[in-house]
């Protein structure tokens, strides 16, 4: 049923996107140090880590919002620079930012098509509105009208709009920074379902999430960031949540494991879906 052009079935070994040794500092804070990341076509990579681990910074480097201080990015086999967001969009990297980056004074349609309006000199309002409804229905969005300003929408509705926006155009990689954080049950299921479909179409998906259930539901690989460094890479199917949590917190002794130990032996003792952050790894080093 999907009418979206299929990305040609790629050899699973060639990475669509790879980052090597990417480093980013803000003043005295090393937000990212020597990060490596590979995303293949038709693969969902989850990035997890504590608050302040550098996930959003990594996403912004991919989106062209931040320039890395060191390191290389290779896209489709050739080294690339992503000097600004339009370069990223041009490459085929669509991003849903954690703060959504929507214009509150503009309507839903205006936001969806911002920067890639149909017929720039004589906007095709009708065409854009129809396309907007199609996209939103695909995500089971509960939005009464697309002519309403973003300011009038709830947090989850806004998030749906931001996700819908990333599907426009013809992206090769979709980067989602906590896409389901504000979504309801049905909408979360719809987004996870969407991620599955994007993978089937051969797109690369990078998903940042704190929700282990979501991650394990759709991800192929899990990459753990800790204090701005790679801290482990797991196969999402075989790994246990405890291992991931341990890599996230950098310790095998933390609230989650202690609790598991306490209830050890009793019924099913899978750790909670949400990762509990520890204080020591939350670094708030904004210097500037």
């Amino acid at each position: 049923m999907d009418t979206m052009p299929q990305v040609s079935p790629t050899n699973r070994k060639t990475a669509l996107l790879s980052m090597r040794g990417v480093t980013k500092t803000f003043g005295a804070v090393n937000a990212l140090t020597d990060i490596d990341l590979d995303v293949e076509a038709g693969e969902v990579v989850a990035i997890v880590g504590d608050n302040g681990a550098g996930k959003s910074t990594l996403v912004k480097v991919l989106a062209g919002v931040h320039q890395p201080d060191a390191g290389t990015i290779t896209f489709d086999g050739s080294p690339v620079q992503i000097p600004d967001p339009s370069a990223a969009i041009h490459l085929g990297v669509a991003t849903v930012f954690q703060d959504l980056a929507l214009c509150e004074n503009l309507s839903v349609v205006d936001n969806l098509f911002l920067g890639r309006e149909i017929s720039p000199m004589r906007l095709d309002e009708t065409g854009m509105e129809v396309k907007a409804w199609e996209l939103l229905q695909q995500l089971s969005a509960r939005i009464p009208t697309v002519r309403i300003a973003i300011a009038s929408l709830s947090g989850g509705q806004r998030q749906t709009v931001a996700i819908a926006r990333s599907l426009l155009g013809d992206p090769k990689i979709i980067v989602l920074d906590e896409p389901t954080a504000a979504l309801g049950v049905a909408q979360t299921a719809e987004v996870l379902d969407l991620i599955e479909r994007l993978r089937e179409r051969g797109l690369g998906v990078v998903m940042v999430s704190h929700n282990m259930e979501d991650v394990r539901a759709v991800a192929d690989r899990i990459i753990v960031l800790r204090l701005g460094r790679n801290n482990g890479e797991f196969d999402a199917v075989s790994v246990t949540s405890e291992d991931v949590v341990a890599a996230i917190t950098g310790a095998t002794d933390n609230v989650v494991t202690r609790r598991r130990d306490r209830v050890a032996g009793s019924r099913e003792d899978a750790p909670a879906g949400h990762v509990v952050p520890t204080e020591e790894s939350t670094d708030k080093g904004e210097v500037r």
């Binding site: 967001p85 980056a101 004074n105 911002l114 890639r116 009464p144």
Partner: protein, 419 residues
């Protein structure tokens, strides 16, 4: 990427009317009802300024019956044009959330450039205007670069520009301090003496109404075809007819005196053009986006720098055009061209007309309506033989009210969830 979904629109409902929480509003009554609703929510639009205009006219008419006479209205429309055009430029910079305080000086400076080149050096007037416009665009570019490259707030850079260009204006006018434009020149003719023939004015009014109807009808057809809700045909007819009757009556009234000046037609054409640019092009959408949330605009791939530059360049260009027309209307460029209240009137007009000082919200029509308010006050007070001190006070009060309405509407929008 369409795929059938469980909640697809039931066949009889338009695509955008599927949500059951949506209030249905059909026909003329529905249009009226939704208008009242959005008004309550702080989406006041042009209503306060139109009410204000009616009140101002009523007051001055009751004090002096000459105010609404054909002759005075012709003068009033001609007086509005120069400041109105400058104000259009202000709308552009306000939309991106910036300000240009130098428009008065730039207009006076441009008038001086044209007058000196045209009269003292005997240049062709068109060439003189082109040179002045080019200089103005360069000035706008300078403000834009100062903002985007050096992060200098436009408030400061244009304040510096205000002084600097006033100085340049005085310098090029020299010791005589004034250059008179010949009465038989095209420029003076255009700004003072040339009026649209009566038959043509009625034809223009008819065409305008027809254009509104056809544009609305075309949109309606397209939306119907795409299974979207559309404005009812009756509401469309009522709108076009109201416009037709209003315009024809207004032109008829003006034609009892000298009529509709070509400069007025030019001003209105600029308003319509800018309105098209803001509402129907990618550029206009980008202006609003930058004014609403710069970072979001940047991340959408909009070239924010170019948008700022275009807004400032357009603003200075329009200031230049306004300045040249003001000189034509006075038949001279002198030391006081573009000084005094020109600057603040242009800015006040845009704000009074409903363009927000906070960026991302406004319309080209606000320049038209706001300028009419300011010109009415000036004209009414002149008729009452009150000197300019009162005019300043009253214009200041009206501006204060307009900004208060803007802020209140903003609050109301926030509480009703509309940015």
């Amino acid at each position: 990427m369409t795929r059938p979904t469980s909640n697809a629109a039931p066949p009889r409902r338009a695509l955008d009317q599927t949500d059951e929480r949506l209030r249905q509003s059909e026909g003329v009554a529905g249009a009226l009802a939704s208008f009242v609703r959005s008004m309550r929510a702080g989406d006041v639009g042009a209503l306060p300024v139109i009410i204000g205009l009616v009140v101002i006219c009523a007051i001055f008419q009751s004090l002096n019956s000459v105010f609404l006479s054909s002759g005075n209205l012709v003068n009033l429309t001609l007086d509005s044009c120069a400041v109105g055009i400058i104000s259009l430029g202000i709308v552009c910079v306000l939309l991106v959330g910036e300000i240009d305080l130098s428009v008065g000086s730039v207009s006076g400076f441009s008038a001086a450039v044209v007058a000196v080149l045209f009269v003292r050096h005997g240049w062709n007037w068109i060439l003189a205007c082109v040179v002045a416009c080019a200089i103005a665009v360069a000035i706008g570019l300078l403000f834009g670069v100062l903002l985007t490259r050096f992060g200098m707030p436009s408030f400061v850079s244009s304040l510096a520009g205000l002084l600097a260009f006033l100085g340049l204006q005085l310098a090029i006018l020299g010791d005589q301090g004034s250059v008179n434009l010949p009465f038989d020149s095209t420029l003076v003719g255009f700004a003072q003496l040339d009026f649209v023939p009566a038959w043509l004015s009625y034809l223009l009014a008819g065409l305008a109404a027809l254009a509104v109807f056809l544009a609305g009808y075309e949109t309606r057809l397209r939306r119907r075809k795409a299974n979207l809700s559309a404005r009812s045909i009756n509401a469309l007819i009522v709108r076009s007819l109201a416009l037709l009757v209003g315009l024809e009556a207004f032109f008829w009234y003006l034609n009892r005196s000298r009529g509709v000046g070509w400069m007025v037609v030019f001003f209105v054409a600029l308003v319509l053009l800018l309105n098209y640019g803001i509402t129907r092009t990618k550029w206009g959408r980008s202006l609003l986006a930058v004014g609403g949330n710069v970072e979001a605009a940047r991340r959408s791939g909009i070239n924010v720098r170019n948008i700022y530059l275009s807004a400032f360049m357009l603003c200075s260009l329009l200031a230049c055009v306004g300045g040249i027309l003001a000189a034509g209307r006075l038949a001279s460029a002198n030391l006081s061209s573009g000084t005094g209240d020109v600057n603040l009137n242009a800015i006040a007009a845009a704000v009074i007309g409903g363009t927000s000082l906070f960026g991302g919200r406004g319309s080209a029509f606000s320049a038209l309506l706001g300028t009419l308010v300011i010109a009415s006050i000036a004209s009414g007070l002149t008729l009452l033989n009150l000197d300019s001190s009162y005019r300043f006070v009253i214009t200041g009060l009206v501006l204060a009210v307009a900004v208060a309405i803007d802020s209140l509407a903003r609050k109301s929008r926030a509480s009703h969830g509309r940015a």
